[in-house]
């Protein structure tokens, strides 16, 4: 164990992390964005990105009908082409988990997991008791992935142990029933030093994945933020032998954006992270752009937007 569970050891560990130089991190991310991904590597990246999409709807206006449409899309993103892989998961609010699970099962999407956002998503402003009930509810409904938010207020006011305990508690609830993704909401943590610190805090507390954002706060998954988080999982692996996943979410809308994310993964955490088990992209509009670019690559021309399904 690199910490003994006490507040003192947690603080000591986090305070000894190397700082992030803002200018340097942004320059590195910008350089990696210039990588030119063409032909065969683009085809590979598009299919990999599709299989990494956590197809998401998190609206107050979500209905069972909307969820079912999304499930169909998740299982067969392109109804005209069976070689297109299914997406990584469906990501919905708690009360839609049961509907999503049974719909997926009934259309042959047994292998597509349902992720639920829990712990008073998106703000995280509720008592731990409520957050526990919220999580348990999602688990009972059949969620196999929990996307929890951290208490940013506690983190920013220095109550690190409180954040740690919350994550640990939710992880305990998840047990081996569900994967835990911990949303840092990097747009509210603001500095890269905070992003690095929160990443380690989440990993130490038991996160299976660290996730950038709720999608409700801008900026969300910027390239330098994802870079810093990928460095954190890479170094955590070197330290502990445990691989933690990364999930950027929010603002990734185009194939170009998604491919840039995969380049970041390849040249930071390494090729081992290029699997849906260790990298996901939280998105909704992205999937259709990936499908259109996939068609373009195969046919040589762009199809009208009506050739992909609207969900």
């Amino acid at each position: 164990m690199i910490i003994d569970g006490s507040e003192k050891s947690l603080r000591k560990f986090l305070s000894e992390l190397s700082p992030v130089d803002q200018v340097g991190a942004e320059a590195r991310a910008a350089m990696l964005a210039t990588r030119s991904i063409k032909t065969s590597s683009k085809a590979w990246a598009i299919d990999m990105a599709i299989s990494m999409v956590d197809l998401t709807t998190l609206e107050g206006a979500d209905t069972p009908g909307k969820i079912k449409t999304l499930c169909a899309k998740a299982v067969r993103p392109d109804p005209t082409d069976s070689t297109v892989p299914s997406v990584g998961a469906i990501c919905v609010y708690n009360d839609m988990v049961r509907i999503a699970r049974s719909e997926l099962d009934s259309i042959g999407g047994n292998s597509v997991p349902v992720a639920a956002v829990a712990t008073a998503f998106p703000s995280g402003r509720a008592s731990l008791a409520v957050k526990k009930i919220d999580t348990q509810d999602a688990l009972n409904a059949g969620a196999s992935e929990i996307d929890m938010v951290i208490d940013r207020g506690a983190f920013l006011s220095g109550r690190l142990m409180e954040v740690f305990e919350e994550i640990r508690t939710i992880k305990e609830l998840c047990g081996n029933k569900a994967h835990l993704k911990v949303i840092l909401e990097t747009g509210e943590l603001v500095t890269y030093d905070n992003v690095r610190k929160a990443s380690y805090l989440a990993m130490l507390a038991g996160a299976d994945f660290i996730k950038t954002s709720t999608g409700k706060v801008a900026p969300a998954a910027t390239a330098p933020v994802v870079l810093v988080m990928l460095e954190a999982v890479r170094d955590y692996f070197a330290l502990t032998g445990t691989k933690i996943g990364v999930k950027p979410a929010g603002g990734i809308r185009t194939t170009k954006d998604a491919i840039k994310q995969l380049v970041l993964v390849k040249e930071t955490a390494g090729d081992q992270w290029l699997t849906p088990d260790l990298f996901r992209i939280g998105a909704s509009a992205l999937l259709n752009d990936l499908l259109m670019q996939r068609m373009k690559l195969r046919s040589g021309h762009y199809a009208s937007a009506n050739y992909v399904t609207v969900d």
Partner: protein, 484 residues
């Protein structure tokens, strides 16, 4: 699991449109050398001949200097300053318009990755013309006296590592200050200078204001020794720089010399390690390490040395070495066989002297001139690889225990061009910067250039500065006299 190998993403060589042969650019026209001699310029990544280049001898130099003198006396020195500025703006804009062409030609002729010529060399070269265009009509307010005057005809000799950028560093301030020039590009990289000559024609620059003479060291010496040159501006090796200093002593000529370096890149234990690793990589592997200000001596605090070296090696394994025209290439070809031999010779001396060589596993192309990204650990101050400029992708790693020791090691060199400091602590950075004897000091970054920022060295790294107001002063005299 992963098959995410980047497919080839080559830039098109057809954009370059390189002529099969080039004459000398004298008096606004391409002319054949008087003796009709020529030499080939090759692509160092493939060893293929790109073009046949005119070889200028003494008589050609004389013609070029005469043309420059005549343009100086009749046109350029009499032209209102704001008109000079307009020409410089026009040149800058044309360079931007033809940026892709310049980048491709540079990469083909030099061997540097297209990503660097496209994102660094060409934009910076255009920026130098824009910057100096602005100075042309403001010289009276630049602090050089109320009536600063141009010098006359300037002879300029530039190296092969940044052919177009070094041309811009030389020509832009010279013209802005009202001088005319005869420029000799390096023997192995004449093409972008000749393309620039076309730009001068396109911009309608008066004939003879810029003259480009191609050739080798003998050509350069003829230019330096020509009696009707008022100033020499040279970038290149310290050895040649010293010979220029000797050649012009006792003459009316002035000189700015931008020479070698063996920069210390100091990493303190409180640095942002990941970004420091990026900075180390950028410091020594940018442009194949063919950079006079390269961070070629890494001076690491001992208590973080292991961590930094571990991360550095992993990062070096990601450096993509190969076809410079591929947009994803990070490290291109060594510019010439001669340079490759020199890198090999000093590196082999490193082995013999007991340092430990390490390079990532990679396959180098069979044709062309290549050297893998390399670090030497266990280097001591007395090793040749710690003292001599290698001018290649070779990093010597030394360690230190206290800040004072770091400074002492950093300054223990005949050079003093640049240095880097990596620390998250502002007070330490400022303290170290004050102690370091180097003309350019980067803090938490490396190899950053800007036309407004003067560049130049201490000790055997050179005389004078280039860029900014300081650089401009090298092309002006406060006295109201006109040289004849």
């Amino acid at each position: 699991m992963s098959d995410f190998e980047y497919a080839n993403a080559p830039e098109s060589p057809a954009i370059a449109n390189i002529a099969s042969n080039y004459g000398l650019f004298i008096g606004g026209k391409f002319v054949q050398p008087k003796k009709g001699k020529s030499f080939n310029t090759i692509n160092p990544a493939t060893e293929e001949v790109l073009s046949k280049i005119g070889y200028a001898d003494k008589s050609d130099i004389d013609a070029a200097v005469k043309s420059a003198r005549s343009a100086y006396l009749k046109v350029w020195s009499k032209m209102p300053a704001k008109e000079r500025g307009k020409y410089l703006y026009r040149i800058a804009r044309i360079m931007q318009e033809r940026a892709r062409e310049f980048a491709v030609v540079e990469t083909l002729d030099n061997g540097k990755p297209i990503r660097e010529s496209r994102d660094t060399d060409v934009p910076l070269a255009a920026a130098h013309f824009f910057y100096h265009a602005g100075w042309a009509d403001k010289l009276e307010f630049a602090g050089f006296g109320s009536k600063p005057k141009s010098l006359g005809v300037v002879g300029q000799v530039i190296p092969w590592n940044f052919p177009l950028l070094m041309l811009a560093w030389k020509i832009a301030p010279a013209l802005a200050a009202g001088n005319t020039v005869v420029l000799k590009p390096a023997e192995t990289t004449p093409l972008t200078a000749l393309l620039f000559a076309e730009v001068c024609q396109q911009a309608g620059l008066p004939e003879g204001v810029v003259n480009i003479v191609t050739g080798d060291g003998v050509t350069g010496a003829a230019l330096v020794n020509h009696p009707d040159i008022n100033k020499i501006a040279f970038t290149g090796s310290t050895e040649v720089g010293k010979s220029i200093a000797r050649a012009i002593s006792g003459s009316k000529k002035t000189a700015t010399l931008e020479l070698g370096g063996k920069a210390a890149n100091i990493v303190f234990d409180d640095a942002a390690i990941d970004e420091a690793v990026e900075g180390i990589v950028n410091g020594i592997f940018f442009n194949q390490g063919h950079v006079c200000c390269a961070g070629s001596r890494l001076i690491l605090q001992e208590n973080v040395a292991e961590e930094v070296l571990d991360k550095l090696k992993k990062r070096m394994s990601l450096i993509r070495v190969g076809d410079p025209m591929d947009k994803n290439t990070d490290l291109g070809a060594i510019n010439s066989k001669e340079q490759l031999n020199k890198i090999n010779e000093i590196s082999n001396a490193g082995d013999k002297e007991g340092a430990n060589r390490w390079s990532p596993e990679l396959k180098l192309p069979s044709k062309g001139f290549w050297f893998p990204p390399t670090i030497f650990t266990g280097v001591t101050q007395s090793h040749r690889i710690a003292r001599e400029e290698i001018f290649g992708p070779v990093l010597s790693v030394l360690t230190f225990r206290t800040p004072a020791e770091a400074i002492e090691k950093a300054n223990n060199t005949m050079y003093g061009l640049s240095a880097g400091i990596w620390s998250d602590k502002g007070s330490k950075v400022l303290w170290a910067a004050k102690q370091l004897k180097a003309g350019v000091i980067w803090s938490n970054t490396f190899n950053k250039f800007d036309p407004a920022s003067p560049f130049g060295g201490y000790k055997e790294s050179g005389w004078g500065r280039e860029g900014g107001r300081h650089g401009l002063s090298g092309y002006l005299t406060a006295e109201a006299k006109v040289n004849k």
